[in-house]
Symmetry: C2
Subunit: 343 residues, 2 copies
DNA sequence: CGCGCCTGTGCTAACGTTAGCACTGCTGAA
DNA sequence: TTCAGCAGTGCTAACGTTAGCACAGGCGCG
């Protein structure tokens, strides 16, 4: 690897001069700068960030810690983040936890050793105490899920409101047996969405047993399919179904298509998130649209500001809009005569 | 930040001893090791990789340089790569080029400054000469697209064969006006897929003007929609359509759904890649399945081997299977009576 | 004419870690 | 008794870069 020393020896100046010339220090004459730049270019010199970091400079890497990049929600986040960060000279490190706290810990250890400048994290249900310690040592920001031990910097969705609205839509159409398919209560998002579901039932004057819930791994398409199968086989199957995760929604749609369930004739469905296929699935999926881009951009800007201004300005959390209900054809009154379809 | 020196002062030994104890050097007594580890844990010591790198150690970061992480093809690659790399203690850096050679160059400069250990790249159509120089200085591997100047280490799909098969399927059903919607010829993949399309037409004994092509940005869903619109409005619209990219396929499906085109009654369609929604789109999309996981794992293993063994073993490129044609309901003989559907 | 200032450059230390060499006791063999 | 060898530890240099200080030469001002 070419160093400033190589350049210095080549043109007969000191390393200091080379360093200053490359930093465009006004004390160096234009003539010398020219020769240095020329030599640097010819030799293919690339500054060594490790050495700079040793001199106190911070790294130009921020990390994104998420469950699974294949989830389009997270890949959109990653994209927006990357775009915003690149514009400011930052690179993005990607760490997948698969919702496993030990994998999360392993990643945070590495990130810490690499002295990343900042971290945006979708924490697991119960982060390891060492993970908490590691995170607290670096500017960080929670995304979607909010864990109290990780501070109050948080960007997310108003999950309670999102599911309240989605469920209320079904209640308003007269459904009295509604199923909710979502993540486990341990996850902050899972708990909030479930709460939103129950709030809507209560507000609709429905009895406690009107709601049926199927909770499980929120990133598992497979779990979505199985849960749907269980719901349909049950003695008094629900007439409507709300989803509390994108991946589960994918599973739901696949299984309903496979079984040829008539939507919304036999079953009304409200999805979560908005994927490319949702609009062309069956009669079109009514679903909760999420402001993903806005959230990602918000995160990026918050972190950038935080990285630029040394003092710890601890702006409190920011909850983004609850997401809007996108009305398509997959919901209708129970037993109603909505567009029927064998998917 | 806690350093070895802090630990040393705390327990009254030298930094050398601390360093060796943490590296589990056999020369240090177990008793001392215990005290060092204890102190390190209490203080929350995390080794500084930058300092290690200065001592000649290589970084534990590999970079993935791709056009756009939102493309599920690339997010799957990123996921598999990340999984394999994490198991070996490597972290993944993500760089998006958006198919812009200048963005590509900017990223490669940063990666180079950060001394990444290796790079897996989906190169742009014509990488900048400096990009080439930067890449050549580090173990790297081309993915999908193969650019001659970047060496012969390549993992990809047999694009020619993939599109030959897809097109041949339509030809066999008797279609004589077939459109191909794909990326530009400048891209190695674009050129190969187009060639495969033409090969199939020729082998099917069709005249040169049987094929209509719409080439454009391969990652643009929007372009897919517009191209479909143009094709349908043309005086003698084709009776079949083959896609040469996942994103374009998404656009195609959206537009066909929107316009309510009967598939395969009015138009037969063969897609590219296999996304969640493809199976439930209209009559089910016949499409080219790609061995994404296998490719990603192959890349990871190749790079890991390359990083472990210092000597430059230059295994030549490896072309993976051509992808299999997944038969669903979206193709039928022209004017035929296949399951018709207004999406 | 002498002094201070300015311009342009060099020297050196420091960042945190590691490896080579040196040192201190101690044990065992000649 | 002397010395080699060993266990256990310390000292120091080096990695590449940067910043503080020093220094040389030239010029203007009193």
């Amino acid at each position: 690897m070419i160093t400033t020393r190589d350049i210095a020896e080549r043109i007969g100046v000191s390393v200091s001069t080379v360093g200053r010339a490359l930093a465009d220090d006004p004390r160096i004459s234009e003539e010398t700068k020219g020769r240095v730049r020329q030599a640097a270019s010819e030799l293919g010199y690339v500054g060594n960030r490790a050495a700079r970091m040793m001199r106190g400079a911070s790294s130009n890497v921020v990390a994104l810690v998420i469950p699974d990049i294949r989830n389009s929600f997270y890949s959109t986040i990653a994209h927006e983040l990357s775009k915003n960060m690149e514009a400011e000279g930052f690179q993005l490190m990607l760490s997948e936890t698969d919702d496993d706290r030990m994998a999360e810990l392993r990643h945070l250890r590495e990130l810490s050793a690499n002295r990343v400048a900042g971290v945006i994290i979708v924490p697991t249900a119960r982060p390891h105490s060492e993970s908490v310690k590691l995170l607290r040592a670096v500017p960080h920001l929670q995304l979607l899920r909010k864990h109290p031990s990780l501070g109050s910097q948080w960007f997310g969705v108003d999950d309670h409101e999102a599911l309240r609205r989605a469920t209320a839509h079904l209640v308003a159409q007269g459904h009295t047996r509604i199923a909710y398919l979502g993540g486990p209560e341990e996850l902050p998002t899972g708990a909030e969405r479930l709460r939103g579901f129950r709030t809507a039932l209560r507000e609709g004057g429905l009895p406690d047993d009107a709601g049926r819930t199927e909770l499980g791994p929120p990133s598992s398409v497979q779990h979505g399919r199985e849960a749907v199968r269980r719901l349909l086989e049950a003695p008094d199957a629900p007439s409507a179904l709300v989803s509390g995760s994108i991946q589960l929604t994918l599973g739901i749609l696949e299984e309903l298509s496979r079984q040829g369930v008539k939507v919304p004739g036999e079953l009304s469905v409200v999805g979560f998130g908005d994927e490319p296929g949702f609009s062309w699935w069956g009669p079109g999926l009514t679903t909760v649209g999420l402001p993903i881009q806005e959230m990602a951009t918000g995160c990026a800007l918050w972190l950038l500001r935080r990285l630029k201004t040394k003092p710890s300005n601890d702006g409190p959390y920011t909850s983004v809009s609850p997401g809007s209900l996108i009305l398509r054809g997959s919901t209708a009154p129970p037993g109603g005569r909505g567009p029927s379809k064998s998917a």
